[in-house]
């Protein structure tokens, strides 16, 4: 490995959070952005080709060294580390709305979900997944929420644009007559997916 790649490896190892590229540049002001990028690629390849137990991931607006998924169970069984709790269906729904509509107020989230979301937003805020990003102009100047870098990290996203665009989402339930729907015994794609998730939630 080149000295720069080793330096980046040490820095990423020392940091508990993903490190943005600009911050990595501060390690060696003489290296160009292109050189940093090349060194990151070199480090990633080094982990992939030589077969390491960790890998380099671009996540949450930065870079992070993560263990490979195949060792998770063994690590958890030995109680060396434990996986974070899954979010509830209510929390996921509220997060999904905030991610797409931010900045957004509590009332708008409630309107889309059809339920009260006060306590859900509070716990999401406490977990650092959302933050207050401003206040609306309207009556009472309600708080507006947006997602945080921790949100990206939690869902393994590099940036918000990695989520499917609204127009890429399948258009809801299909516009078909009941008879046609009835013919297709196992409902496929979005409908089936929702059925599965609502069963879990």
């Amino acid at each position: 490995m080149t000295p720069l790649a080793k330096l980046l490896e040490a820095a990423l190892f020392a940091s508990a959070r993903p490190v943005p590229t600009e911050e990595l540049r501060g390690l060696d002001p003489e290296s160009s952005p292109a050189a940093i990028q090349a060194a990151l690629e070199e480090l990633r390849e080094h982990y992939d080709v030589d077969g390491h137990g960790v890998e380099l991931i671009e996540i949450g607006g930065g870079w992070q060294i993560l263990t490979r998924a195949e060792y998770t169970e063994a690590i958890e069984r030995a109680q060396l580390a434990s996986r974070p709790h899954r979010l509830s269906a209510a929390a996921l729904e509220s997060l999904a709305i905030i991610a797409y509509r931010q900045p957004i107020g509590r009332l708008e989230v409630e309107e889309i979900r059809g339920v009260n979301v006060g306590s859900v937003l509070k716990s999401l805020h406490e977990r650092g997944l959302i933050d207050v990003v401003g206040r609306a102009e309207g009556l009472g100047r309600p708080l507006l929420y947006g997602t945080t870098p921790l949100f990206l990290e939690h869902f393994g996203l590099r940036h918000l644009e990695e989520l499917p665009r609204a127009d890429e989402l399948a258009v809801a339930l299909r516009v078909q007559s009941p008879a046609v729907v009835a013919e297709q015994a196992p409902m496929d794609e979005p409908v089936a997916a929702v059925a599965a998730s609502s069963g879990n939630g």
Binding site: Q64, A96, A99, I112, G199
Partner: protein, 249 residues
Amino acid sequence: MSDAVAPYTPPADGPPPSFIVELSAFSGPLDLLLALIREEQVDIYDIPIARIAQQFVARIRTLGLNEAAEYLEMAARLLRIKAQLLLPRNEEEQWDDPRAELVRRLLEYQQMREIVDVLEKRGEERRNQFSRAWLPSQPVPPQAPLALSLSELLASVDRILRVTRQPGVHDVVARALDVPGAITIIRAVLELRERLRLTDLLNNGSEPWQVLSTVLGLLEMAKLGELRVNQPKPFADVEISRDTASEAA
């Protein structure tokens, strides 16, 4: 409308309900409504409101009222739409489907559920990888321990003392008070008069140090028991009298 709020009983001739629903399995009234629409295999753009409303009310009956408030609101909405559909329409006028708003909300909700599926999948993938020890409550790295010897510290202090300019000091010399002198004067006056006022001892031309000396002298003599000091009310003139009791003693 009474049929809609009647307790739900599975139709005797039809098949028994295909699945029993736990309401806690739904994240809201829209979720339940979507499930019913799928279950009944009806077109979301042409919802048979009467049938769906009946099913909906039947399902929420299993819940306590408080918990079901949001579901009850949706039930009321369904019944209102049903009532609107029953009204006769004028063929010539443009007719707004009362279900349109509900359909829009259902589609919006459905779209959001698709995003939830994406998030769930991505979140599950991320959960299967560990990062270095997670320290959420410690965003700021702890400060490095101070590496400094005593001689270095003293040298720094010395350097700073030499570099900084001597601050311009203005000495304020207190005018010495003459308490014994004031006591001598007060004693002399008390020899002549048994009682007097503070204003008798001072005049408008008295310097502050004279006033202070006199007051302190009075207090000192009062402490020694040579005189009594009395002020009937705030800001009133102070009355001074020989302390006859202590003199007698």
